[in-house]
């Protein structure tokens, strides 16, 4: 056997788990993103008292697949005056960055591609921020005013809000004392409480900043359709547009996973150290069984026979998942799989909850104006994040150096942080009041 072949075989023997899970990420994330879109449309319909997609499959369950096929067979247009290579490259960059950063995220204690990466959470942040190049280069290469303005807005917005998000994450990392994703979750188990309760202000800042970073409403200025057609994606169509779209939704999943890991306890169940709540381990099986039962109940009410069958198939899948989850609890030889599967369930549940908040805010709040967005970032969030880092560090020092109670220290410092926030809000109100007074004095052109 030649040495090269031997090297390849030994390489595969060592790394096959990583390779397979990498391929799985690339294959599964587009599907998940498609269904996140469906859930979003359904939620929007619900909040607007409509039904949403109902025609393709029962309750629109096959809509994502139909959309994907439609996008694949659409005509692919490249503008004549576009910079061809960069136009071609930009969506790929956007999507690759999101997918690569997913490699370091741990979906439960078992499912992680890059196992021992020492800089875990920094890797996720750094690589996912490279997706910005996809937006900037795409907007520039399209050679259109709308695209260029969208790209410029996007750059300014992301550079501003990444600072706030980074500072918010530093508060969480101070509590955890490590960058490794596994150790962050272990630290929360050790404390016996999720970091959202120890650093609520940091979580709030991260929530706002992550909405802005993923270009979602109410901060979707780079693609504001009433001003810029579609922003940086104006000239894109078909599959390239789909790549941008996938990148955006993959990025949403990434920021939700980071928030879950750092602030919401990762794959820990609620109250991980309380012994008498151990019955919560049954909850995943019961939950999936309940979803299956509801699907079975709805199956009888479908108008077409095919849709009834499909609904029954979905119900059967749910029951199968419930059976697997229950088997890991009660069948002794399978109990080795319990932490991995239950952890994945709780992690995905928390990620879905975070995404739900994203969508809820999108349907609730009107879009910000660009100067309001910049004011919010630079005058409120970034100073508040810096103050928060300072006070969290003070609380940690009070605990380790002076032997204070941890809760007392953190509650006092949180109060101080909130006072700082109130002060910043007050300054902001005064500034806007002064600005509007000045504006009403000078621009009197409509007064007649």
């Amino acid at each position: 056997m030649s040495p090269a072949l031997h090297a390849i075989i030994s390489f595969l023997e060592t790394w096959w788990v990583q390779l397979v899970s990498g391929v799985l990420i690339v294959a599964v994330v587009p599907l998940i993103a498609g269904y996140v879109v469906l859930v979003e449309r359904k939620l929007m319909a619900d909040m607007q008292a409509r039904l949403g997609p109902m025609r393709v499959g029962p309750h629109g369950l096959l809509q994502p697949i139909a959309d994907a096929v439609k996008l694949l067979i659409k005509e692919d247009i490249i503008p004549d005056s576009a910079d061809k290579v960069i136009f071609w490259l930009a969506p790929v960059v956007s999507m690759t960055a999101a997918l690569v950063s997913m490699g370091a995220i741990a979906f439960g204690p078992w499912f992680q591609v890059a196992k021992d990466i020492n800089i875990g959470i920094l890797f996720v942040l750094g690589v996912s921020s490279l997706g910005l190049f996809g937006i900037v280069l795409g907007g520039w290469a399209s050679n259109s005013h709308y695209s260029l303005i969208g790209a410029l807005r996007s750059t300014a917005q992301l550079v501003s809000y990444e600072t706030a998000a980074g500072l918010a994450i530093i508060s969480g990392l101070l509590l955890a004392g490590t960058l490794q994703i596994r150790s962050i979750v272990d630290a929360q188990q050790h404390y016996g409480v999720w970091f959202i309760f120890l650093a609520p202000v940091a979580f709030f800042i991260y929530l706002v900043a992550s909405i802005a970073e993923t270009n979602r409403a109410p901060f979707d200025l780079p693609e504001a359709e009433s001003e810029l057609v579609a922003g940086y994606m104006t000239e894109y169509s078909g599959f390239r547009w789909a790549l941008y779209f996938l990148g955006e939704y993959a990025n949403m999943i990434v920021v939700a996973a980071v928030a879950t890991t750092l602030f919401l306890g990762g794959w820990l169940r609620p109250f991980p150290n309380v012994r008498w709540l151990n019955w919560l381990d049954v909850l995943p099986a019961l939950f999936t069984a309940a979803v299956g039962a509801y699907c079975g109940y709805r199956a009888g009410k479908q108008p077409v026979r095919v849709q009834t069958l499909f609904m029954w198939a979905v119900a059967a899948l749910c029951f199968l998942a419930a059976l697997i989850l229950a088997a890991t609890l009660f069948v002794p030889p399978l109990q080795a799989a319990k932490p991995g599967l239950l952890g994945a369930f709780w992690f995905l549940l928390k990620v879905s909850g975070y995404l739900y908040v994203f969508m809820w805010l999108r349907f609730t709040l009107p879009r910000y104006r660009f100067d309001q967005l910049m004011h919010l970032g630079w005058y409120l969030l970034i100073p508040l994040a810096i103050v928060n880092v300072f006070f969290v560090a003070v609380a940690m020092m009070l605990e380790t150096e002076f032997g204070w109670n941890r809760w007392l220290a953190l509650i006092i410092t949180s109060v101080f942080t909130l006072l700082a926030a109130a002060f910043l809000m007050h300054l902001h109100d005064k500034r806007t009041a002064a600005a509007s007074a000045a504006a009403s004095e000078t621009s009197d052109s409509y007064a007649g």
């Binding site: 910079d83 960069i86 490259l89 750094g126 921020s129 490279l130 750059t155 992301l158 550079v159």
Partner: protein
């Protein structure tokens, strides 16, 4: 075997895109190739198990500085032929810098050849026995080199305040 394949891949990409970065006429293309060079260098850092250096390179240089570069390039007029913007002694300055760099690299090669341990400054540690990289980095930076670190921070702060003062409109 695999290690050298990965190293030569990253090194080749870095050198090739660095050459392309210098020769492209279009400023955005140059910026893209500079990004590629920085990423390939980051890959070499990762292969040396300097994870923190790798991510610092990506977050600061690629994700921070290059974004601002591209931002500025997009704002300037690109139809000004950039190769016309030269100054008087440019050729001579370029020649001098190139010769100086070549001297530096050859001295480095000569110095490394003189070392007893077959060209390596320190023997490589086994990968799984290395202490966590970012912790080591923090200990050195905030322990042994605290004063230079603080001086550099104050310098950056002064530069930032200066920029704000200069950019602010005088009302």
């Amino acid at each position: 075997m695999l290690d050298s394949i990965i190293f030569y891949f990253f090194a080749g990409v870095a050198i090739l895109s660095a050459a392309l970065m210098v020769t492209r006429r279009n400023a955005i293309h140059s910026a893209v190739f500079l990004i590629t060079t920085l990423l390939a260098t980051a890959g070499i850092f990762l292969q040396l198990r300097a994870e923190f250096l790798f991510i610092a390179q990506i977050i600061l240089y690629v994700g921070g500085i290059m974004v601002l570069f591209v931002f500025v390039i997009m704002l300037v007029r690109l139809d000004v032929p950039l190769h016309h913007i030269t100054f008087r002694f440019q050729k001579w300055v370029a020649l001098f810098v190139a010769v100086a760099l070549a001297c530096e690299v050859s001295v480095m090669f000569w110095y490394v050849r003189q070392l007893p341990s077959a060209g390596l400054l320190t023997p490589p540690a086994p990968a799984d026995k290395l202490p966590p990289n970012s912790e080591q980095f923090a200990k050195v930076l905030f322990g042994d080199y605290l004063l230079p670190f603080e001086i550099a921070s104050i310098l950056l702060l002064v530069a930032m305040i200066g920029a704000v003062v200069m950019a602010k409109k005088r009302t």
